[in-house]
Amino acid sequence: MDVHLKQGSKPVCRLYEFHRRAAFAWFALLMGTSSSCDQPQKPPPNRPSVTVGSGSLTGATLNFAPNDPPGEWHSQARDYANTRYSPLGQINTDNVGKLRIAWTFSDATLGGHEAAPLVVNNTMYLVTPFPDVLYALDVSKAGEPVKWTFKPNPSPIAKGKACCDTVNRGVAYVDGKLIYNLLDDHTVAVDAKTGKQVWRTKMGNVETGETMTMAPFVVGKKVLVGDSGGELGVWGWVAALDVDSGKELWRAYSTGSDKQVLIGNDFKPFYDRMKRKDLGVSTWPAGMWKHGAGSVWAWISYDPQLNLIYYGTSNPSPRVPDQRPGDNLWTSTIFARDADTGMARWAYQTTPHDRWDYDAVNENILMDLPIDGKIRKTLVHFDRNAYAYTIDRVSGEVLRASPFAYQNWSSGFDMKTALPIVNPNKEPHPNVKLMNVCPPDIGGKDWQPAAASPRTGLVYAAIFNICMDVTDHPASYIPSTPYDGMDMHRYPAPGGNLGEFMAWNPATGKKVWSVKETYMTMSGVLATAGDVVFYGTADGWFRAVDARSGKVLWSQRLGSGIIGQPTTYQGPDNRQYIAIYAGVGGAATVRADVTALKPINFPPGGNTLYVFSIDGDSMSSGPGQLTESDGVSATPPEAGNSTEH
């Protein structure tokens, strides 16, 4: 457990804080560092690689490479392993109940706000939904003034091609540059200091229906990006660009010949059904792989020891399965690829011949776990098909597979073939209304990433409890239009709740505890060294939960629904802050029936970043006329009043 703010020491701390704030540059030096507040003010120690002891329920080991500074947040997942775990622990189970709003920022953009705020060198970087504006805020000054704004001016056509709202899943920071994808298929790099564009690479043609929504993922000097458009008949791919120049180094398609998919002699899938040649062509009716999707629109993780990247591909197009008999490889598939060459090492298709739009794009969290008496290098993956997988990330062998959300599309899981046993009564056929299929197209969990804690060894995820009635209408491929055909009506699964937040044991494949939510839970998760985990709901509740017990310790309703990803950072005042966007949209609202279920009290769209601290203390609130000029109060209040606000 990290430092605690003791009740008795707080006024002193605040007094100290006032002086430090009022005379930032030199008074702090004069006062020295012997204040009783030193403990809580100090950044918690960096723990790049933690082997948990008695506190862990699983014995999991996590690698936090590339070991970014503990008080900062440089990439969407924070680390290669996609843990979304912060070593900051000032905010903990004892004091999280005193979390209050410290400051806010509105970006004037409607649409689902799915990106995590980054913090690098006392600057926060935010990206909006279309038109994908990038903001740099100076968090070292009162009022968090905008340092610069970058407007990339993407094509408005993109707005009408994005399946699930005009979202952007965030920015990556590397070598003084911010790299992100525009909805109109351009990847841009922006100078973090000046906000000027460094390079811009056109990755696709938006007029075909292809868009880009995923956050780039940086491995060394390469940045990996992929496309969106599983509902528009795109030809899915992932590509590596040079960080300095933006030049494309390799591109691996998700369908087509082995050459196009970057499958060569090193490809060693664990299961026989994925071992034949050119399966990306032969598992489709003639030519249909060309518009078969397998887009790469969510998360990538990386094992630096194995030098492998891991990611999943989207559903096949069109979404009417009877139009495309076959397994439809390599859609709804998890790939392991060599990070340097892009060549595939193994693949595992989670849902062959995907009939329900289950994808396999959800995050893969890399954890080393003791399983059946042996430590295995694994990846943990909550698939949209409602199965949680623990997979050997060296070989692609499925070690655990069990449902984490309500499902009825399969009657069980065959561990020998690593295939769910499909329930034939839940297979849709054209022009027939099929009732009560669970989960629906958006799955038992969508793209919203889970987090893992080395302290508990558990994984925390916001999941769904939803079913659908579905009618398939055969679809024709018309470029620039949806190649889709799925007509759905969604409603809550048994229990009546649409959302749930859970802790999962990836070593046993069992749920540890969960919190039921009336509305959808489609936010990312933040795990912290304070043993507090954070998530939000589509109706706007932001919550902090005890990582061990699942007890909700703190909640606040924000100005809009939450589908963003919470992050945490340490300010220049040494305080720990928690940041989250409120701005509902995305798949949580794109099809009206989900919100129409319980329209009362469902918030409208929004675009506000909320930043929290204990008691709401920050450089941006307090008595007197705070200014942003130098981060100190221009008219310092009386010392005794500094806590009254």
Partner: protein
Amino acid sequence: MNLRATPCAIGIATLALLSLLCACGHSPREQTATRAMSALPSAAVGAAVPLGQLAGAPYSVAALSTPNPDHANPQAIEQGKQLYIQMNCAGCHAYNGKGNMGPDLTDSEWRYGGLPVQIYQSIFAGRPQGMPSWGAALPPAEIWKLVAYIQSFGGSVAVSDYEHARQGDQPGEQVAPEVQAEAQLGSPPVPLARPSPQTTMPPKSGKPLP
């Protein structure tokens, strides 16, 4: 890209699902189109539909008042529905018309106008935020059928309400006496050669369309 291809060419990509619509030759659709053609508004009607209000000129009502020749025609509505599904309109605007990727077509909110000819023009010419232009792919008769199907959702604007829709009027509202008086003056608008900030804009007629 084969946006400019005929509906026949477009449909070939998949199975025989367009066979009804697109038997390439003398299809039922073409025959229907030919039969209906005589009653169709001029193909140039779309070009005469202004997207905004007219500056410094009398309001041109002629083009806006173009009725849909297939309005409330059950057969045309059914054919429009088939087109709506087969041309992937439903993929954006939903099978029930309530929208997801694209706007809701069943409500009273119309970015580019909800009069039949304005809906026609949105389909014919496309719109800048991703709505493709179907003018090269679909003959006017087909587009009017799509308009008829969209009108059947009930959210479009009746021809007689063109001005009310533009000015944000809703059924059942009150009108302030000054506004009413101005509308009743009915003085013919004066064309302005050179509008200046001092010039008052021509009054609206306030009269229902002929």
